[in-house]
Amino acid sequence: MLILTRKVNEEIMISTNLPAGQGGITIKILSATSGSGGLVKLGIEAPAGVQILRSEVYEKIIQSTLDATAQSKIKIKDISALKLNKIERGDGRS
C-alpha cells in the first residue's frame, strides 16, 4: 500500500498525471479532524464510469450476492396471496 501524508487542501492524482477530464483521478483532502475517531473529508474527481464506493458498502453488496447464490436453490413457496412491496414516489415511506 502506498502511504502518503497530506495536509488539508492538498491533492493526490491517480492513474496518470492527467486531470479527471482526461481520464485521471484526483483526491483532495478537504478537512480533517484529529484524534483516533477523527474524520477526513475527501473530494474525489474521476471520469464518469469510475465507481467510487465506501468499502463497507461494497463488502455488504458482495455478501448479499453470495447469500443470494447460496439461497438460489430454494423453491419459492406460494406467493400469490402476498403483496409486492413498492417504493412510492418521494415520500420516504417503506
Binding site: Q51, L53, V57, Y58, K60, I61, I62, S64, T65, L66, D67, A68, T69, Q71, S72, K73, I74, I76, K77, D78, I79, S80, A81, L82, K83, L84, N85, K86, I87, E88, R89, G90, G92
Partner: protein, 145 residues
C-alpha cells in the same frame, strides 16, 4: 450449446443469446457470460452463469417495485434476490442493480449510493385485507399517474 443448471436441469441455447457482462458482477468479476432465463412465475428470472453453470442468481425486474428507479438507456433494471423459505423474508438488492440490454445482449452492475435503496429490500408483505390485493403484480392504479 448446453449447460447443466441446478434450477432447470439441462438447458440448450444459442450462444448468441448469452448476455455479456464485460465487468462481471461484484464478487464474480471473472464471470462475464450469463443466460437470462424466465421462470414459471411472472416475477422472477434466473441469471445463470454459462462458464460456471451451478452459479445462478434469482433476479426481479425493479420497475414493478419502483417506477422511478434510476434508469439506464436501453437497459432494464433488475435486482438480485435472496430467496428464503419464508416468502416474507425474501429480499432484493436495490442498491446494486443489474442493468441488462436484451437487444444488445449486454449487462453491467452498478451501485446506487442513495439511502432510498437498501441492499436488503423486503419484497413481500402479508396482505392486510383478504380480498382484492392478492395479485403481486398489481400495478396500483389508484395512484396518480
Amino acid at each position: 450449446m448446453k449447460i447443466e443448471t441446478i434450477q432447470f436441469g439441462e438447458v440448450e441455447f444459442d450462444p448468441e443469446q448469452t448476455i455479456n457482462f464485460s465487468s462481471g458482477i461484484f464478487g464474480f468479476d471473472n464471470l462475464k457470460s450469463y443466460l437470462l432465463i424466465k421462470t414459471d412465475d411472472d416475477l422472477f428470472y434466473s441469471l445463470n452463469s454459462v462458464d460456471k453453470p451451478e452459479l445462478a442468481f434469482p433476479i426481479v425486474g425493479i420497475r414493478v417495485i419502483d417506477e422511478n428507479y434510476p434508469s439506464e438507456a436501453g437497459h432494464e433494471a433488475f435486482a438480485i434476490v435472496t430467496l428464503n423459505s419464508d416468502p416474507l423474508k425474501i429480499t432484493a438488492n436495490l442498491k446494486a442493480p443489474v442493468y441488462i440490454n436484451q437487444e444488445q445482449k449486454s449487462g453491467f452492475q452498478k451501485v446506487i449510493d442513495s439511502d432510498k435503496y437498501p441492499v436488503n429490500f423486503n419484497l413481500f408483505s402479508a396482505t392486510d385485507v383478504s380480498t382484492n390485493e392478492t395479485d403481486p403484480l398489481n400495478t396500483g392504479t389508484d395512484r396518480m399517474g
